[in-house]
Symmetry: C2
Subunit: 328 residues, 2 copies
């Protein structure tokens, strides 16, 4: 590619996670070149060691597509937070010890010599789906990611809604029931207590126990995960269908709030639990079509995410591209 890349610009997208650091090379049109390079996050060795790994996989990712590192226009890093994407500093983050007021972009610039930009991981994934995934071509979108928690993000006319405290787009912490279960954030009854993979697994175990069942198709109650619930529901287990429908209804409340307050063109739903498909998205969409204001209730499109776990890498690269272009 080095010989044939002409005047194209290339960007590295990095996903910094508590388990792995992953990187890929994305061109200015959003196309991911080659594969995704991944290494375990040496989190117990401290942030400087994590930065060494990050610089190394960026180099490897570039080499794997025949580019020298210096040929990269910029680097984008999606990271858990809270963080400040203007200063490039991670304030702190639960799964990466030592990242306290840690200047990620400054360190990466030192190690690579390339302009580097930091973005929240949920925002990066959301921007990936906006730029190249399920919301491609839309002007505005809101994403819900149904995983361990419920993450999300908002893009309006090409811009991530970050907010002055970098909290915009935390759709998983809309209040569904102020008397509901305590959430990891300290509040009660947040959407993620109903519509995350974790919440669905917990609820399924409660229901199974109440029904006197000691396992779900051979999986013991304490090991039931949301995918077992989805499989059982797909195979016709009415109790598990009801668990997913209940989660879908909570998600539908979230959709109504978003439709009426943000009014996006598209709502994108990703994350592991979204793989339950219509079993969860059907009830969620039906609730929104019934309850949101007209015309968004009829017109907002609800679509599954399409980029899987490359969304964060493509999106981080896209954020870097946009900020690199506007900073010149």
């Amino acid at each position: 590619m080095a010989e044939s890349d002409g005047g194209r610009s290339f960007f590295a997208g990095v996903d910094l996670g508590g388990t792995n650091v992953r990187a890929g090379i994305v061109d200015e049109a959003g196309v991911l070149h080659g594969g995704i390079v991944k290494m375990a996050t040496p989190k117990d060795a401290g942030p400087d060691a994590v930065m060494d790994v990050m610089a190394e996989i960026i180099k490897q990712a570039a080499h794997s597509v025949g580019l020298e590192g210096k040929r990269l226009s910029a680097i984008g890093i999606g990271s858990p937070g809270p963080l400040n994407s203007e200063t490039g500093v991670i304030v702190w983050t639960p799964n990466l010890p030592g990242f306290e007021n840690y200047p990620v972009t400054a360190r990466v610039v030192e190690k690579t010599g390339r302009p580097t930009f930091l973005e929240g991981d949920a925002n990066a994934a959301c921007f990936g789906e906006y730029w190249m995934g399920a919301a491609r071509g839309a002007r505005s979108m809101v994403m819900f990611t149904l995983g361990t928690g419920v993450g999300g993000g908002i893009v309006l006319n090409g811009k991530i809604l970050r907010g002055p405290h970098y909290t915009g787009g935390h759709v998983g912490h809309m209040v569904i029931d102020p008397q509901g279960p305590v959430c990891g954030c300290g509040a009660r009854g947040c959407l993620e207590q109903y519509a995350s993979a974790t919440a669905v697994a917990r609820r399924a175990a409660e229901v199974l126990q109440k029904e006197g069942r000691s396992d779900l198709n051979g999986v013991p109650l304490e090991r039931v995960a949301s995918r077992h619930v989805a499989e059982a529901a797909a195979a016709g287990d009415d109790a598990m269908k009801a668990v997913l429908a209940e989660a879908g209804r909570a998600l539908g409340i979230g959709f109504v709030n978003i439709a009426n307050v943000v009014d996006p063109e598209v709502i994108v739903v990703g994350g592991g639990l979204a793989e339950a498909g219509e079993l969860i998205l059907g009830p969620a969409e039906a609730f929104m079509r019934d309850r949101a204001l007209f015309p968004p209730r009829d017109e907002i499109r609800i679509v599954p995410a399409t980029l899987g776990d490359s969304a964060g890498i493509i999106g981080a690269a896209g954020c870097a591209r946009n900020r690199y272009v506007t900073s010149r």
Copy 2:
């Protein structure tokens, strides 16, 4: 003023309501000159008659500050909707018969010869508070207007969040309880069923009846309005304090959702019920400070609106100014 206005630009701001049409003259710095001119909306005579009245009060407002109508740079109209502010068409609106797909701005241009822009009334009031009122100097704000319903609006970096279906900012229709009272919008348990002046009056009457009281300080149950509730609560009536606190708590759920999803710098609260002050805003703010994500829970400012019913006129003029400037 005609002699001394130098190079200043002037804009007419109009508030089209089901009862009155009101207009005022605002300069490019947002200062309202002279008073607000008002005439009854001849709504039963149809939209063309309403347009004649609108043209007349714009002329009167301009004359009252010594300007010829043609000296106005542009006209901004805040109107109930749904409407399309790009085409300047009111789609329909409950309290103005005959305004169905009615081209308001085209008619006003015909009658006045001045560039005219249409904006939703709630957005216009919100923009007024952003530009010249309680949120002046902030980059982003969300407004809650506690009146007959709960209206609102969102301004991010100087731009109204309208959404592709012109529904953005309808904060009164966030879901507080999906099993709650039926709302005018057709859904159940919307915020405005708990935190509007109407809802507070209804809830107070229920509580008074349950307590076997036939009046509230001489006001018969069927005529109790939210201001009577606020007066009684301020004078120490514990049951009425509880009614306002309950409304405040629902409003607080709305604040949490907005803090976590939109993350504005400021939340502005206006409308008649906001005059109950700390009796409603105290519990609402406490709920947000307890439940929203950090750091917005500590940092978002919650402030009362300051422009009263000139917010819509100043805001409509401000929207016209911005769109006039960017259209040239």
